[in-house]
Every structure is written in C-alpha cells, then in structure tokens.
C-alpha cells in the first residue's frame, strides 16, 4: 500500500484530534503525540468506522476521513484520554 504522505499524516492527526480520537497536544507540558498514540487512535477510528483496524493511515482510512460527516466528535475527550492512558 502506498505510504501516506506527510500531508496525509498531518491531516490525519488533525482529523483524529478534531473528532475525539486523539487528545489535543498538551499545551502545558508541550508533550507531542507519540507514534504509538497515533496508531492507537487510528485503530480506534477504524474500528468505529467499520474498517479493518490496521493502525496505519491506509487508503480506506484516508478515504473515510474524506467522507462528509457530522462535526461532533465520536468520542468524548475523557474517552480519548482514557484510551491514551
């Protein structure tokens, strides 16, 4: 499968944060999101969307991220944080 471009990854991280799969980066500690967190978040999004949970930004995942949708997040922030923990 083609590897996602840097732009895809950025857009993917933004999308995952926006819809509750990734907690926003912590402004106080400046902690960045780790690859592991990102992979977990992608997997959560894939399971939620009915895709195969590969944990990578594959074509089907990028395609689903482009699908028109409701603005509200799919998971509440506490849920995402709990996933992070």
């Amino acid at each position: 499968a083609p590897t996602p471009t840097a732009e895809d990854i950025n857009r993917g991280v933004d999308w995952l944060t926006r819809f509750g799969y990734l907690p926003p980066p912590d402004p106080v500690t400046g902690q960045l999101q780790t690859q592991e967190e990102l992979s977990k978040a992608i997997k959560a999004m894939q399971e939620f969307g009915g895709l195969k949970p590969t944990g990578i930004l594959d074509e089907a995942t990028l395609e689903l991220m482009k699908t028109p949708r409701c603005s509200l997040p799919d998971l509440s922030q506490s849920e995402a944080t709990r996933r992070k923990r």
Partner: protein, 443 residues
C-alpha cells in the same frame, strides 16, 4: 460503546428555522417541512412533542451557517463537516442545530453530489435530544453521511436507534416497540412537494423511461442497495427498499468510464470477493472500483470462459460466493476465487424450476433470496433453493418502484402496459384521450 449523554427533562420542545440555505433550490416551506418530518421521526416513538414557534428562544434553534460561526465547530465548505447539533442541557445553545450553508442541500434528488437534508436532519436531531455517535453501520447516528434514507413520509428508524432513544425517554404511549408508527392523515402535516420546487431545472428528459411501464435491462444489488437499469438511466433503492428518487439518474454521470455512446447495459453484479462491480454489454465487460472503471477495461467475456454472444443475467450467490451467468436457456457457474468456470457448465436453465429463460437480469437481495426479472415481472427464489416461490411472478414496478394499480395476474406483462401508471406526479401525454395533458397526483 459510546456513553449516553444528557437528555431533556421536559417533553414539549419548541423548534424554529431561524435562517435558511442561501444557495439551495429548496424553498423555505420545503426546508421547514423537512425539519418537521425529521423531528417527527423521533416524536413518533417517544413521549417528546415538537412544536414550531417564532422568535429567538426556541429550544431547537435551526440555522444554516458558514465557516466559523462562533460556536467552536467551524464549517468547512462543501463536504467535510456538514452539520452539528448541541446535546440537551440548560445552556442557551442546548439543542441548537446548525447545517453548513455551503453544502448542496437536496431533497428527493438522485444527484450524487447532493446532501439529503432530511437524512442529515434526522441524525442531528438525534444529537439534539441526547444521542451520541455510534459505530453501528446501520444506525442513523453513524457519524458519516450515508446518502438519502428515502421518503420522509415512509422513513422508519432502524430498530437499534429506537431502542437507544427509548432508553433515554421511554416509549410513546401510542406505540408498542414492535408496532409501526402510523401517520394519520387528519393532522395538519406540512406539505412535501413531490418534485423539487424549481421544476424548470428538472423536467423529465425526453428519452427518460417511465419506470412503471418498462422492463429493465439490468438489476443488481450493489453495496446493499438495489439498482434498476434502463437505457441510459437507473433508479436506486436504499437498503430498506425505499426509492431514492422518482427521477432516474444518468448512468454515465454516476458510473464513470463507460463509453458515452453506450445506450444500455445487459447485466451487472457485485463481486463478493472484492466488492468490485462488473458491467456486461455484448461481448465485453467492465470492472468498477466503486463508481470508477478500472484500467484495462473493457475486456472480452471469454475471460469468464463464456462463449461470444453476451449475457442476459448475472448475480453473485452469497451462499457459495460464486457467480451465476445466464444466457437464453443456458447458465454457467463462475468460481471467483479460482477465476474459472466450474466443471459441467453450461447447464439448462430449466434446472431453476419456474424461472423463465432469456431473463432480463437477476439479483441476490439482502433477504437471502434471489430475484429474477423479465419483462415487467419478477420471480423469487428463497435461500439456496433452485425453485421459484409460489405466487410468482409478481409485478416489478409495483413491488420495487413505487407504482400502483397493477394487476399481477394480467394476461402478460407487456399487454398489461395500459394497466399501470406511475403514481406520483408524472406527466403522461400518451394517455390523454381528449388532447388534454394528463397528470396524476396521489399525494
């Protein structure tokens, strides 16, 4: 599972469309009617009552907004995020529902770029009364737009969605969990026009077939929906057999890559192995990934081991993941996994008892049955049997395409042509005896 969120303590909720879409062909009355019916989907089965009010303090204030509109959920133009709503609560925005004014909002339209306003409104009002997103592919509360959900007057919430809202509010007195809510005619429901209001842009095209008076070139289940193909057009039915639009869509505008001079198709099926869609026409076939043809097609049907001469019907049988191809009185069985025809084929179609030869097409449907279509009639074969059910053939247009006044036991499909007419609002000059235009309208 997603945690439950807040709910309304009161049962009577007011709503109001404060702003309307600026660039949509939908008039204000149609928008208000669609909101009314979208709310009614929920009030029909719960003790909630919705009433429209004027003024700025409705519980559910509905706006069509653009880009950043100061609520932390900026819209992003066509596509992307299309709408949102705020959960119940005491905050003044609780229950408010916003639609992206830059979406192409449609109603009863087959336009693939349109966003069905009714479908999105039902989803958002689910939020406004307390439901969160859920991953269930069938749910109206899935976060992704899944296309039109059919006729607002007939729409029926998926059962799991009913259960979830019943957990919040209980069941409306007049409804038992299993009874179908009745819409009784004597309430003053707002009028929903049959066709989009600006008729001038959607006049029936001259070569547009009449779905109630025709036989079909091909019928297929694709991604769970039923597609009926006739000439250059097709009709589409949702999973629960609701016609997406009375107006057919043009094949070439949806299925990209077919030759523009192709005036019809012979047979179509969705491959179970990779969910690609195969179109047959004459001695050639095309393979589509979603609605774009793949490179390298068309190819000859001899790829399948079929003789030249074309295919009448094709369907993929979920019982064995094999594809059955019919031509006149013969049929073949193609093994998709091994990419070869099963031994011993072709066989006589008569092995399928009660099924006609030289059929128009066949379709495996989500009820596990297989349907065979010829002329204006269809036959049903249950599960993995090879015998038509008692009581068939029946009339295709009546049972699948929202047509009425058909006699299924007429002498023959063709001769029953005069017995059928399209039920909703279609002009049919050919029937005017005294040179007046005839228009039938039943809603």
């Amino acid at each position: 599972n997603i945690q439950m969120v807040t709910k309304w303590n009161k049962r009577n909720l007011s709503w109001r469309v404060r702003t309307f879409p600026k660039a949509s062909s939908l008039g204000h009355d149609t928008v208000r009617a669609l909101m009314y019916y979208a709310l009614k989907v929920w009030s029909d089965i719960t003790p909630l009552n919705f009433h429209e009010v004027a003024g700025n303090n409705a519980d559910i204030q509905i706006d069509f907004s653009r880009a950043d509109h100061n609520d932390g959920y900026p819209f992003d133009g066509p596509g992307g995020t299309v709408a949102h709503a705020f959960f119940p609560g005491d905050h003044h925005t609780s229950g408010d529902t916003h639609f992206d004014d830059e979406e192409f909002w449609t109603f009863r339209s087959s336009d693939v770029n349109g966003m069905d306003l009714f479908a999105v409104a039902v989803h958002e009002f689910g939020h406004a009364i307390g439901l969160a997103h859920i991953s269930d592919m069938e749910s109206i509360m899935r976060p992704y737009y899944q296309g039109p959900v059919g006729d607002p007057l007939k729409y029926n919430l998926p059962y799991d969605d009913k259960v979830r809202i019943w957990q919040l509010y209980g069941v409306r007195e007049s409804v038992s969990p299993t009874a179908k809510p009745e819409v009784n005619g004597d309430e003053d429901h707002p009028f929903l026009p049959d066709l989009p209001e600006n008729r001038s842009t959607i006049q029936p095209r001259k070569d547009e077939p009449d779905r109630c008076n025709t036989h079909f070139d091909a019928v297929a289940q694709i991604r769970g929906e039923a597609f009926f193909f006739k000439g250059k057009y097709f009709w589409r039915l949702t999973r629960n057999k609701h016609l997406v639009s009375l107006q057919p869509a043009q094949i070439h505008r949806f299925w990209r890559g077919l030759p523009l001079n192709m005036d019809s198709v012979d047979a179509i099926y969705e491959r179970t192995t990779d969910h690609k869609i195969v179109f047959f026409k004459g001695d050639r076939y095309w393979v589509f990934k979603d609605n774009n043809v793949e490179e390298g097609y068309p190819r000859p049907i001899t790829d399948f081991g079929l003789p030249p001469g074309g295919v009448d019907a094709a369907f993929s049988w979920s019982h064995n993941d094999k594809t059955y191809l019919f031509k006149e009185n013969l049929f073949w069985c193609f093994n998709e996994r091994e990419h070869r025809m099963d031994d011993g084929y072709p066989m006589e179609t008569t092995l399928w008892k009660g099924i006609p030869t030289a059929m128009d097409d066949a379709m495996a449907w989500s009820d596990g049955s297989t349907y065979f279509f010829r002329g204006k009639e269809y036959w049903k074969v249950l599960d993995n049997k090879m015998q038509a059910e008692e009581g068939y053939p029946q009339i295709t247009a009546r049972d699948w395409l929202v047509c009425s006044d058909m006699q299924s036991d007429g002498p023959s499909a063709e001769s029953s042509r005069t017995g059928a007419h399209s039920r909703q609002g279609q002009h049919d000059e050919s029937r005017s005896e005294n040179a007046y235009e005839v228009c039938s309208c039943t809603s």
